[in-house]
Symmetry: C2
DNA sequence: ACCTGAACACCGTTCAAGT
DNA sequence: ACCTGAACACCGTTCAAGT
């Protein structure tokens, strides 16, 4: 950071990074101009030199997250030729490690006018990767879209459930079973029971 | 509500119902003691006669929701003998109508110490209904648990995505396809591509 | 160009006092 | 038994003034 007379001179990016740290820890609601100012060693008033208001620094923080934690990761995945391997790599990357707190915080407020466009961009990008996996497996565009939808809702729901400790302890141990189900042939089990 | 000298006398239930209305509209964060007091025509101070603090009225509101909107609906479902029909009824009930706002608001903060126990109770109850569908279809307890997990994460993720208008417009039109996938036989499509 | 400091509004919480 | 009203703290936002 730049300084003047031994004092910090802040940029919008400094504020956005501090806000992203708060979002990751405690969600967007926990972002407080007063607290950010305290952490950065300035008064609240100076915040409004850089941003129009509280919402704007949240947007800036989420765009930071979008660039660094999402868009940056996809090219490596897309390089995997075998679609099943690609699906496995994708799901393992999101299933095994601890939940991405910013991801959850974002999903939780995905209808917020501030958050909605960023959420839609990220979702569409990821869904396209999933659709390609299934068309690469030989499914039609429509069938692939259905499978991609199921896979992505699985991903989102899984994260939701993982947040809650009591529920998370019951999640399936073996991700491979989920991959089997997501790539299963269409005909039903127990077809004879169908109406 | 009871009255005295023409003035309203409020019970904890009156406050909880007002809070639930707010949660349904705008989520738990929007619950404000001052606003509730305004709606009910009393001052903020009187709130603290009924509740220890803001969190307590949110818990009371969510327990109201749990009783009226969740527990009450399950017995009718469990009465459907054919497991596929039961799954279809269950998914249609949650897929077709507009998103339950309280449901989403709850899921969004399912790790909140205030919300976690209620969320865990509701989730476990619903997951048990799903597991039974799959054991009724002839699957082992373990296999049924995996399918139930996939079905429930589908449900949660679907609601998440539905919140965002841009994404919701891309959801699969025919729920029946999702039911096919959830009840599909285990062997993979395109088995030859597997490593 | 960036920050301070005072002001105002909103709201959670407490508590003595009222009926 | 339930409510009022004043007080205090926290924080978003504005803005004139400082460097």
């Amino acid at each position: 950071m730049a300084t003047r007379n031994g004092k910090l001179l802040l940029s919008p990016d400094d504020w956005a990074r501090a806000a992203l740290a708060t979002i990751t820890d405690s969600g967007p609601d926990a972002v407080s101009v007063e607290r950010l100012a305290g952490e950065l060693g300035v008064t609240r008033g100076s915040f409004y030199w850089h941003f129009g208001g509280r919402d704007d620094v949240i947007v800036a923080a989420l765009e930071l997250w979008e660039r660094e934690s999402t868009t940056a990761q996809l090219p490596a995945l897309e390089a995997i030729a075998d679609p099943i391997k690609r699906l496995r790599a994708l799901l393992r990357a999101v299933y095994e490690p601890a939940v991405d707190a910013a991801e959850l915080a974002l999903a939780a407020v995905s209808d917020d006018p501030v958050v909605a466009p960023i959420f839609a961009r990220v979702t569409e990008r990821r869904m396209a990767v999933l659709r390609k996996i299934f068309t690469d497996l030989g499914l039609s565009a429509k069938e692939a879209a259905d499978r991609a939808w199921l896979a992505y809702t699985f991903y989102l729901g899984h994260h939701q459930l993982r947040k809650n400790a009591a529920i998370a302890s019951r999640r399936p141990e073996h991700l491979e079973r989920m991959i089997d189900l997501l790539t299963a042939a269409a005909p039903r089990i127990a077809e004879q029971v169908t109406p």
